[in-house]
């Protein structure tokens, strides 16, 4: 049901019955290492190319989640996922392995919540019993695609972010137990004319603010309604900018309850500069860490706002600015649900 301008409210509250997250070596050293189902020591995952390793990450996460939910892959009716690589081949190839009907979605780093919103919408209206949704990214595959060869010695400025190696998937079902998806707000493309690909957080912050504002307005609640509002991968700079921007727009948010996945995932000492990014960043933190906290009862209501920068190396080289987007999904567990 549409509420306000661009928010869906899901009357049936589809449940996230199982989640699984897989990470790479850098994540294994991170703060959230315990929240992963599977961690790899080798960035190559024993494959011959980073792109193949990328695909394997998503496959492993998908099979882990199926196992946890006690499902066979044939029972999955739709697979909705995406990544950052050219034409999304890692996800499409993983879909080939799964054999499920597949919708590839691209929202850059906001793919995870885009997929979750769509999955919730479909299951809410009886479109499916089980939908597998997720997102993945692989640090070096993405670096190779968007920036320089991984061994190239280019100095990154302190505004740069580190792409997460990992995959996070969730199985959404209209029945069953687990955190429930109550609402989703679809973002619109916001372009503030930022053009520095080494400062994604600064570029994406306005998109996050736009979506959060729209969500709160459509739902007619204020920020304190949520125990936690978590953005996807704004990093240190983007988080600060968006927080100040929200306050400027008259939305009071408790700083403690406004977190960023890109800052949660790694330790302070890791050389990630401004924080983490990548399609897997929000997927891994939300489906791993945050849903675990909800299951433990530490959080009741969260709003996950995954942010994405919709650029390509081509558009950047042609001097285009960076259009950005953010999708918000409200998740509840326990309480009056």
């Amino acid at each position: 049901m549409l509420k306000g301008h661009r928010t869906w409210v899901f009357a049936n509250k589809p449940a996230i019955i199982a989640t699984a997250v897989v990470g790479g070596p850098f994540e294994a050293n991170g703060r959230l290492a315990d929240e992963f189902d599977l961690l790899h020591e080798d960035l190559w995952l024993g494959e011959v190319s980073y792109e193949k390793a990328h695909r394997v990450l998503l496959e492993e996460a998908a099979f882990q989640a199926l196992e946890k939910a006690g499902l066979q892959k044939e029972q999955v009716q739709f697979f909705i996922a995406g990544d950052l690589i050219n034409q999304m081949t890692p996800t499409s190839f993983a879909a080939r392995t799964l054999g499920a009907p597949y919708l590839g979605v691209f929202g850059a780093c906001s793919t995870s919540m885009e997929g979750l919103a769509l999955s919730a919408f479909i299951t809410n209206y009886g479109g499916a019993d089980y939908i597998l949704t997720g997102a993945s990214s692989h640090n070096t595959a993405v670096e190779k695609q968007f920036r320089y060869p991984t061994e190239y010695g280019g100095q990154k400025p302190p505004t740069a972010q580190w792409t997460v190696t990992g995959a996070g998937v969730a199985i959404v079902s209209p029945k069953g137990d687990g955190p429930r998806v109550t609402a989703a707000t679809i973002g619109r493309v916001v372009d503030m004319g930022m053009a520095d690909p080494f400062n994604m957080g600064g570029a994406m912050a306005p998109a996050a603010v736009d979506t959060i504002e729209a969500h709160l307005r459509d739902m007619q609640v204020d920020a304190s309604h949520y125990d936690l509002i978590v953005t996807g991968d704004l990093g240190r700079i983007g988080r600060q900018v968006s927080l100040d921007l929200l306050r400027q727009h008259g939305i009071e948010i408790d700083e403690e309850r406004y977190q960023d996945c890109g800052l949660l995932i790694y330790r302070d000492g890791q050389p990630v500069l401004s924080g983490a990014s990548g399609a897997a960043c929000s997927a891994v933190v939300v489906y791993g860490h945050l849903l675990n906290r909800m299951r433990r009862g530490e959080l009741k209501r969260i709003l996950a706002v995954a942010t994405g920068a919709l650029l390509s190396p081509l558009s950047f080289q042609q001097n285009e600015t960076i259009p950005c987007i953010a999708h918000a999904v409200a998740i509840e567990y326990g309480g009056e649900a």
Partner: protein, 124 residues
């Protein structure tokens, strides 16, 4: 003793001059927000221009590797080779002599690049 002194002086000036050229590169990257590729391109062209003005050769005499190791020397060497050949063969030499002096850097990069691709894979 005297020779040792001039060797040490050469090390010192190589360090200082080479370091300063790198600082210019760093300023181009940080202040003007240029990509490394743009920075290196500018430096190469600058090296070629300095040779054209007759300033780069004295710098090499003075700073040794401090002037030959930075990428600016690449532009210098291209002009140098072209001029050398032009003196011998006239205007056609400009085209044919260009890689006379620079060939070492490029061929080493090509050969070792290929060997590297045979031996290594990216560590990430």
């Amino acid at each position: 003793m005297e020779v040792r002194r001039s060797v040490l002086a050469m090390f010192f000036w190589a360090f200082v001059v080479g370091g300063l050229i790198c600082v210019i590169g760093q300023l181009l990257m940080d202040v003007f927000k240029l990509t490394p590729a743009h920075t290196l391109t500018i430096l190469v062209v600058a090296g070629a221009i300095l040779n054209g003005l007759g300033l780069y050769e004295p710098l090499i005499d003075f700073a040794g590797a401090g002037a030959t190791i930075p990428i600016t020397s690449f532009g210098n060497a291209l002009v140098h080779g072209a001029m050398q050949e032009a003196e011998k063969h006239g205007i056609v030499g400009v085209l044919t002599g260009m890689f006379e002096v620079t060939s070492a850097g490029i061929s080493a990069a090509i050969v070792f690049g290929f060997i590297g691709a045979l031996l290594f894979r990216p560590k990430g």
